[in-house]
């Protein structure tokens, strides 16, 4: 187990190193001039070559690429993750301020996805080809198909025009005012959670259908166990492994999806910060946020792998 863990951690480090190089290079080869955002259209148009040289040097963009990369690694090491090109605040400050909101949205969506997806999957599996199964399958396809940002926008508009309601405009952390905080995260959490829930419903349905055909389930029923016990104690635990795997993968979708969904709901989380940074070409912010997302994704997948051994005694890592 220990060897396996070390190997996974090493692989994770290599993966993150690859991600860091990719995002670093991509941000520098993509067309677009960050000085347009810094100086504005008129200022940019009036900038002389000498001005450009000076500003690029101030931003650290005139140094050779390997030097810039090493500086970035040093900033990561210091825990500050570098400074925004523009306003001078550190990326670590941005993450500390906006990160909790995005994390809450991710956790909430995960909870919603399990709360919705699992019962629907169980119902479908135990009443296959029934009307509830057909409805559940249709709904799951629908929620997979609907783009989260579009659904988000509809919810925002419906809340406004029907109830004159708009969520708080500034970040309120959970520990500051739980009620206002909930108003900020609940919309994106549900929208992202429903899309994930649809995947989980489909996955749990197909896994359960496979498991309930197994001998041990028939044996459980033959013993006279109630159907609920058969499901909860015997069928479900054995069908859960793929569902957990897909939850780990779906977290990646949540991270990616949150960029558009936060924008639609006007939630000032990390996703929105990413959108602004891309538009402004705030290279340092973009590369740090991408790396952060990669770290979370890799970490979750390692945890998912490790959880197999805990959930299924037959699995042992050596």
């Amino acid at each position: 187990m220990q060897k396996y863990l070390i190997r996974r951690v090493l692989f994770a480090v290599v993966t993150l190193f690859g991600v860091s190089i990719s995002i670093f290079v991509i941000m520098r080869v993509l067309p677009g001039d960050p000085l347009v955002a810094i100086l504005g259209v008129e200022g940019h148009a009036r900038m002389t070559p000498a001005d450009r040289e000076r500003i690029m040097a101030d931003l650290g963009l005139s140094a050779p690429l390997p030097v810039q990369y090493v500086r970035w690694l040093r900033d990561i090491g210091s825990g500050q993750l570098g400074k925004s090109f523009f306003r001078g605040d550190t990326v670590a400050e941005q993450i500390m301020h906006r990160g909790p909101i995005s994390a809450e949205i991710a956790i909430l969506s995960l909870i919603v996805s399990w709360l919705v997806g699992l019962p629907v999957g169980i119902l479908s599996a135990f009443r296959p080809n029934s009307i509830p199964d057909a409805v559940a399958r249709a709904l799951s396809v629908l929620f997979i198909a609907i783009p989260g940002f579009w659904l988000g926008m509809l919810i925002v508009l419906a809340s406004l025009f029907w109830f004159g309601y708009k969520t708080p405009m500034v970040i309120v952390q959970l520990w500051q005012n739980p009620w206002e905080n909930l108003q900020i995260v609940i919309g994106p959490g549900i929208v992202l959670g429903l899309a994930q829930g649809a995947y989980i419903a489909r996955m749990s349905r197909s896994c359960l259908l496979e498991v309930i055909g197994e001998d041990f389930v028939r044996t459980a029923r033959a013993k006279g166990l109630k159907e609920g016990l058969v499901v909860m104690r015997h069928a479900l635990p054995n069908a859960l492994l793929p569902v957990i795997t897909i939850s780990g993968v779906l977290l990646g979708f949540v991270l990616g999806g949150s960029v558009a969904v936060e924008q639609a709901f006007g939630v000032p989380g990390l996703g929105r910060a990413m959108v602004s940074a891309v538009i402004e070409r705030d290279i340092i912010v973009v590369q740090n946020l991408v790396l952060l997302y990669a770290v979370i994704f890799v970490l979750v997948n390692v945890l998912v792998d490790l959880s197999y051994a805990w959930l299924d005694p037959r699995i042992r890592y050596s």
């Binding site: 810094i38 504005g40 148009a45 306003r87 405009m169």
Partner: protein, 560 residues
């Protein structure tokens, strides 16, 4: 749809003009055709802003505006993202009256004198004014500020520098008197407008020295303004409180200013206002604005913005576009009323030519609307355009023009499609759209990698001399077409120097004629601004304002 049925002879077809009109007509409401009065050019030395005697003091004003600035240096900025949230913390030498947004009145200069030959401006500064950090305000601060604006240090780019191109020496006469000595005179209105520009905030000499002349990353540098910084959360809120030591006793009227970030024309910004989360919203999208207009207890205002929306024709890369006849033809086939309609749910616009259509020296609107290229019926203009294309040897049209589009702004995307269609339909000019991010657009435009390129540009002043230099100037920073016209460049220095308004007007009209026949860009329209506020907000009515950069101090505004 009746029009469509009667016009269309072939069932199932829709002519392009009708299509574009219908497309633009989605949603309700009509563009408000601006008939604002010509800007007053008055300067009133005895009209310092005074508190409204009926005003209720105290309370909080919640203001929604784009406030996600890329940096904090107001002098170096050209965006409302800076001026919107930062202006209340600073003063200028002169200012525009918040009553009409036009009259130039005293601010930190309590009075001024202009030499009869127009070559010296003397400002008498207020005494007893303090910066927010407690330091005294003196003429040295004004000198340091204006030296920086007139002659920015390396690595500092200030868009307003050209306004002060003729400022020679800046001389501190005594701690409360300063002289600007000009190398050559400029019209008084032009110079006073430049000094009253909201961008030219007065900052401390020491602040500039301490930061190497660059304030881009200095969030809270001391001003003398009516409000003081309390807290700022990026892209969320900027909180300011009343400056208890403000030199203008009795102002500001509200205790606290909460400036909420709302991206211009975004549904979120509109939603915040409609849901009552903000008391005053600037740059509302048309749909939210119309909704606000229908609401009880809400006033919706419209005023002119200092922006021209246009597309450029690259004369260096494309031989055909170098021919003035071809550019005039393209100019003529633009169905401008329809183009305004096309974007009416995205941003408010009005038809105009090469000079602000509401400027007192430009061709009056009624006269403009009779000219080819601005008429509602574009038939005669299209005939003339076809004749010009034939004369130029391009009767068969043009192929494969590359049309560069700023992709992050909805109006440009809508217009590009409409313009592409108009060019194809009327002149058989075929173009391919290339949509890019703003930061890429400016690189490509500056490098000349386009045939047609659509965008917008602002000016600091409404004065034609400013726009003639910034928009059409030879080798000018935004002369993306690489346009040049000897007669125009002969005329513009005369316009700059002419001190007699009537003679200047005649010269401006001459310049307009040159531009009509040899277009340096193709004007699409001029932007307007939609504001809305709940009736509990008093003291602000922007209907006669020009732009959103000069009157944003909120010192005289109160909340009931």
């Amino acid at each position: 749809m009746t029009d469509h049925t009667s016009k269309s002879e072939r069932p199932g077809t829709l002519d392009r003009r009708t299509f574009l009109k219908n497309a633009g007509a989605v949603g309700a409401g009509a563009i408000v055709a601006s008939r604002l009065s010509a800007p007053a050019r008055a300067a009133a030395q005895d009209a310092t802003v005074r508190p409204d005697p009926a005003a209720k003091r105290g309370g909080t004003l919640r203001y929604g505006i784009h406030s996600a600035s890329a940096h904090f240096d107001v002098h170096q900025s050209g965006t409302v993202a800076n001026i919107g949230p930062q202006s209340p913390m600073y003063d200028t030498l002169l200012r525009r009256s918040p009553k009409d947004g036009q009259t130039i009145i005293p601010d930190l200069a309590e009075r001024w004198e202009i030499a009869p030959d127009g070559k010296k401006y003397t400002f008498h500064l207020r005494k007893g004014v303090k910066f927010h950090d407690g330091a005294d305000f003196t003429a040295e601060d004004v000198k340091a500020t204006y030296e920086r604006i007139c002659r920015p240090p390396k690595g500092v780019v200030i868009p307003r520098t050209p306004l002060f191109a003729t400022v020679g020496e800046i001389v501190v006469v005594n701690p409360h008197t300063i002289e600007f000595r000009m190398t050559e005179p400029r019209p008084k209105a032009y110079m006073l407008s430049s000094f009253a520009s909201g961008w030219n905030i007065i900052v401390r000499k020491k602040t500039l020295e301490d930061n190497g002349g660059n304030l881009r990353q200095v969030m809270n540098y001391p001003g003398t303004g009516p409000f003081k910084h309390v807290e700022r959360r990026d892209k969320e809120i900027w909180i300011q409180e009343r400056n208890p030591n403000y030199w203008n006793k009795g102002l500001p009227l509200v205790d606290r200013l909460e400036i909420y970030h709302g991206f211009p024309f975004s549904p979120e910004h509109g939603a915040a206002f409609l849901a009552g989360k903000t008391d005053y919203a600037r740059l509302l999208d048309p749909i939210s604005w119309r909704k606000a207009k229908e609401m009880k207890g809400v006033t919706a205002g419209v005023f002119n913005q200092s922006v021209i929306q246009a597309f450029w024709t690259n004369m260096q890369r494309n031989k055909a576009l170098a021919d003035p006849k071809v550019r005039r033809a393209i100019h003529l086939v633009m169905d401008r009323p329809t183009l305004v309609e096309v974007v009416k749910d995205t941003a408010p616009m009005q038809v105009g030519g090469f000079v602000y259509p509401f400027h007192e020296m430009s061709t009056p609107r009624a006269e403009l609307e009779k000219k080819l290229g601005y008429q509602k019926d574009i038939g005669p203009a299209v005939q003339e355009a076809k004749r010009l294309m034939k004369e130029a040897g391009y009767a068969g049209g043009l192929k494969n023009l590359e049309f560069l589009v700023r992709g992050d702004i909805a109006t440009f995307k809508l217009w590009a499609v409409a313009i592409q269609a108009m060019l194809k339909e009327h002149l058989n000019i075929e173009s391919n759209l290339r949509t890019v991010q703003t930061s890429v657009w400016f690189d490509e435009a500056a490098a000349g990698n386009f045939d047609l390129a659509i965008s917008a540009i602002v000016s600091s002043l409404m004065d034609p001399s400013d726009i003639f230099s910034a928009w059409y100037g030879k080798g000018g920073p935004q002369n993306y077409s690489r346009w040049s016209n000897a007669s125009f460049y002969e005329l513009t220095p005369q316009i700059e120097k002419e001190l007699d308004d009537n003679k200047r007007r005649v010269l401006v009209r001459k310049a307009e004629e040159i531009l009509e026949n040899d277009p340096p860009l193709i004007p699409i329209s001029y932007e307007q601004i939609y504001d809305a506020w709940y009736d509990k907000v008093h003291g602000q009515n922007p209907s006669t304002f020009f732009g959103i950069y000069d009157v944003v101090r909120w010192d005289n505004v109160w909340v009931s």
